[in-house]
Symmetry: C4
Subunit: 229 residues, 4 copies
């Protein structure tokens, strides 16, 4: 079942390695099929170069394995919490990519310091609050998804397709697994430029009118970037 | 038309990727033919590894497409403003290369801290002022070109073939598209060395006599670098 | 003798290069056979790309060469001190990997700032005290092993498979040479993320409950990471 | 003439590129034959991938071209000044490698913060004073060699095979061109680790007894590193 989505999720997981976002098994990608309400996700602790598309695990919204012989990623409940909270998304990525993780560890939102950032993320990339002892000791992975949703409460997650989990690392999403990976790649680059920027001068936020101009020329009804469809 | 220039512009765009100056579609190169007053530029949002020389778009000085089926880069008006302002140049590059962008985001000119810099840029690499709301909301890309020209007012743009646009990133130029790319590569390296330098000690500008010596031994009538032509 | 271990140690040494942990001959891996109490180690100052599995040197616990025509690594006494002090380990790695060495040179333990760290190291990665003049002038390499054991006194070395030697660099270990290399790779990455983190904000230690959750979900009797064996 | 040395110098120049120490034509290597008192050096401004061993230029100690059709490197007088000042050396390298250049631009000697440094450089790597206007305007390249020799006055240049030229970049040397390149590679790495170290904590110099131990176990009559000859 969901052979096309398994192939997409498999390739998206390999793309994390190709883009230098993960070492060892420090990351995972899932895809979600809105019709069947089933998720396809990387198996837990399997190395990227031994994995095949067939090893991808299919689960329902409660995390029950529907197809596949391997155990799904430990982060399965986080992914599921995001698919429930954000109805428009079809792919989720989690990495420990170097620079985005540094901001998450600093417990600091990535300020919007320039147009590279504004082209893809409509404002600072938020960092979650820390989880409480109770949230950590019980249903930890699911609660991780909930604090991500909490920090975006009332916002369209498509305009901010990334959140940093405090003391942990980034999650990103998109309409497809490939778009979620693209957002993870760009997040890592803007995190890198931002940490260099603040090493040169105190943070210097972009003007609101420039943020609007850049974000809106690439997204929404008045976008004019790229080729006409 | 302009087949040779299309080929040059195409190759120069690929060189941005090869030198690690761009990820995704974060950059563009154009070339300008002074005789016909036509510009050749990368199409908007097309990925570098799917592009051919034939996809390059030809426009006139007002940005009208003269040849090509694709939409030209969104930054077309910026490039045109620079060809109008700087009569001697034949190539323009825009990137979001990591270290040069960090200085642009810091809103800080890159100080001339050593001979690596002095060999190619005759003094600090300037940063533009921020654009006003009006400049951002109307003719934004063209106004970006105008503030670049403004910050170099009264200077020979050949002696300072790069400017950082505030909260944005670098533009570079040269006699040809290939020379503009070369300047973008060197700008990124001197930006990188400069950010490391200021992390070690407060900025320590090069002596004026050393700047003159290095810049002038490579440029102008008394240059003695390289092989005799 | 110990042909399989020689092959493992040989490959583990090459993996240091492949993972970018060493330049020149700045590193070495050994393996230890608990049955025969013999160690296999890289020869001293031999370049990685000229070495064969057969060049690995076999020594006893006193450092006497039991097999092999080459001189063993200068760091042989340090490795032996660790095999004596830590009964459960079967592999030791020493590198001068860039970021871990920077923390060692700073004389600062790597604080546990996030889950990437907590997944593999159960708390801050300790730094040894400096060696005294006497410890340096006589049996220097053996004493280096002793200060590593000293800083872990009373702890299970499996829960902290890395120590930074002050003014020097990291040593890591594991059940096998390959696991010791894996720990060296992860140590370098968490050292890198940590130095970026403290450049953004003052150190912000992970909560104890989150450290426990992450370390214990991957290690010990209640671990639930990876595939069932 | 000097065909073997030309080949060595040619390969050493390519090694600068292979080790990532130079971009564009930002570096050069020479070799010196003590018998004939002739130097072989890279031609000026020729790109590394178009160069052949035959393009190497032979000069005498006064910089007169003895063989070769190309103009020698602009830095020829600096190299010659070093061969005159340091009788034991047979190879000189000049680069603008990123991290060593950052320290040169900071006008700061690289402190000896650890054993990686102590294994190759016997103390802090010195930085020259700035050149005066007169030294810059007349015989600039030769004077650059003189300030390098000045900062090492009274010391054995073999124990400190590198100096940073203030506001400029590193020069290194060795018994052969290949050894001079090796020293340039290691200098860049220790400069990189040092800049990371001082970003974590204030400089923390190595103890004198540890410096002695490390330097002397690899160099001089009591060395015990590597294989017996």
């Amino acid at each position: 079942m969901l052979e096309k989505l398994k192939e997409d999720v498999f390739r998206a997981n390999l793309d994390l390695v190709r883009h230098g976002l993960v070492i060892m098994t420090f990351g995972n990608v899932s895809g979600f099929d809105r019709t069947s309400e089933l998720m396809v996700i990387k198996p837990s602790g399997v190395s990227y170069n031994e994995m095949t598309a067939n090893d991808m695990v299919v689960t329902d919204l409660n995390g029950n394995v529907v197809e596949g012989t391997l155990t799904p990623s430990m982060d399965t409940p986080t992914h599921l919490a995001l698919y429930k909270a954000f109805p428009g998304i079809g792919g989720v990525v989690h990495t420990h990519s170097t620079h985005a993780t540094a901001w998450a560890q600093a417990g600091t939102a990535i300020p919007c310091l320039g147009t590279t950032h504004a082209d893809y993320f409509y404002g600072p990339v938020p960092v979650t609050r820390r989880l409480t002892i109770n949230e950590t000791e019980k249903d930890y992975e699911y609660n991780t998804g909930l604090v991500i949703a909490e920090v975006l409460a009332g916002r369209d997650p498509q305009t901010m397709p990334a959140v940093l989990v405090n003391s942990h690392g980034p999650f990103t999403w998109g309409v497809t697994p490939a778009m979620a990976v693209r957002n993870a790649v760009i997040l890592e680059e803007i995190a890198r430029i931002a940490s260099l920027t603040v090493s040169i001068a105190p943070p210097n936020e972009i003007d609101k009118h420039l943020l609007d101009r850049h974000y809106l020329r690439k997204h929404g009804s008045s976008a004019y970037y790229g080729q006409k469809k």
